[in-house]
């Protein structure tokens, strides 16, 4: 056994930048053919070009992860090209941070729609080919705030906690079919999302990370790669916290 994903086909949502981009590149480097879905198609295309240039295989799609017809088309096209779908990484996520008293209905709905419904729609669609194959890996990108909560992120934290319960339920339903479902809970990772944090909040957070730095998108991607590999066949329904120790001791 190796960490190789040779012959595997993976769908990664939110693959245009940040953690999703790193996951796409890492899985492609490990030998998987990757289908990339991003709200902004140009971002997915840029990542796909980079993967192809490095000798990998990638397809780029633009669209909304929570729209069933978009997702059906993406999966249909992926199956047409590569005849199987083995791995789904539900990574697409948005924030609409504000204190609850100031949170608008739309702030709540938009975050739950992408972060939670997107994972539901993509997982449901991917399970059909996975069940036929009797092999599958679903990895949902949650967050440490789904475990701890976070002031100013009631919507985001709720969506990420819900993803964990979703993960466990899918794991229970699909275990007998060789399909595992796990969540990865990143801590503070250097992405556009955390760049948008106020400097004061970044400095404070940094003091609380035992490893002494923000994570890189690759730190998360390596964990995802492991969960997608043959080595992780007996791991399902779990939350893999990758946070440099941020949540240890709290």
């Amino acid at each position: 056994m190796t960490l190789s994903l040779d012959g595997r086909v993976a769908l990664i949502t939110g693959a245009g930048r940040g953690i999703g981009k790193a996951v796409a590149q890492t899985l492609a480097t490990a030998g998987a053919r990757v289908a990339l879905l991003s709200r902004t198609e140009a971002n997915a295309q840029a990542v796909a070009h980079a993967i192809e240039a490095a000798g990998g295989h990638a397809l780029a799609f633009g669209g909304d992860v929570a729209d069933p017809s978009t997702v059906d088309t993406v999966i249909e096209q992926t199956l047409k090209h590569w005849e199987c779908l083995d791995i789904v990484v539900n990574n697409a996520g948005v924030t609409r941070d504000t204190l609850l008293l100031r949170m608008k209905d739309d702030d709540w709905d938009a975050v739950l729609q992408t972060n939670l419904k997107g994972a539901f729609v993509c997982s449901r669609a991917a399970l059909k080919p996975m069940m036929r194959q009797r092999w599958g890996r679903i990895v949902n990108i949650s967050s440490v705030v789904g475990l701890t909560g976070n002031a100013g992120q009631a919507n985001y934290a709720a969506s990420k906690a819900a993803l964990i319960a979703f993960t466990k339920s899918v794991a229970l339903e699909m275990g007998s079919r060789g399909i595992t479902c796990n969540a990865v809970a990143p801590g503070l990772i250097e992405t556009d999302m955390t760049q948008a944090m106020p400097q004061q909040a970044r400095d404070y957070a940094l003091q609380r990370i035992p490893v002494g730095r923000f994570g890189t998108p690759e730190d998360i991607a390596y964990g995802v790669l492991f969960l997608c590999s043959e080595y992780a066949a007996y791991i399902t329904g779990q939350v893999f916290v990758i946070d440099g120790g941020l949540t240890v001791g709290i």
């Binding site: 059909k128 069940m131 339903e173 699909m174 007998s176 079919r177």
Partner: protein, 82 residues
């Protein structure tokens, strides 16, 4: 019982549940005789939908307990589609 539809149903059941063709008789129950669990039944319904190019609702699926039930429902659906 429509013989052609019965044979197609039989083929799907043999493929999906890995049971012997001779065991797939009209009165056989999916859960009692073939030990199908809830996920097996969902897969079976999906396979029927694919084989017959029809759509089967949750309520319709719940009423299918035996091979004969499946043949009857699919015969109705196929004929309604014609």
């Amino acid at each position: 019982m429509n013989q052609e539809i019965f044979e197609r149903v039989q083929k799907v059941i043999v493929e999906q549940l890995g049971v012997d063709e001779n065991a797939v008789v009209p009165e056989a129950s999916f859960t009692d005789d073939f030990n199908a669990d809830s996920l097996d039944l969902v897969e079976l319904v999906m396979a029927f939908e694919q084989e017959f190019d029809v759509s089967i609702s949750e309520e319709e699926a719940e009423r299918v307990r035996t091979v004969a039930d499946a043949v009857r429902m699919l015969t109705e659906k196929v004929q309604a589609g014609e």
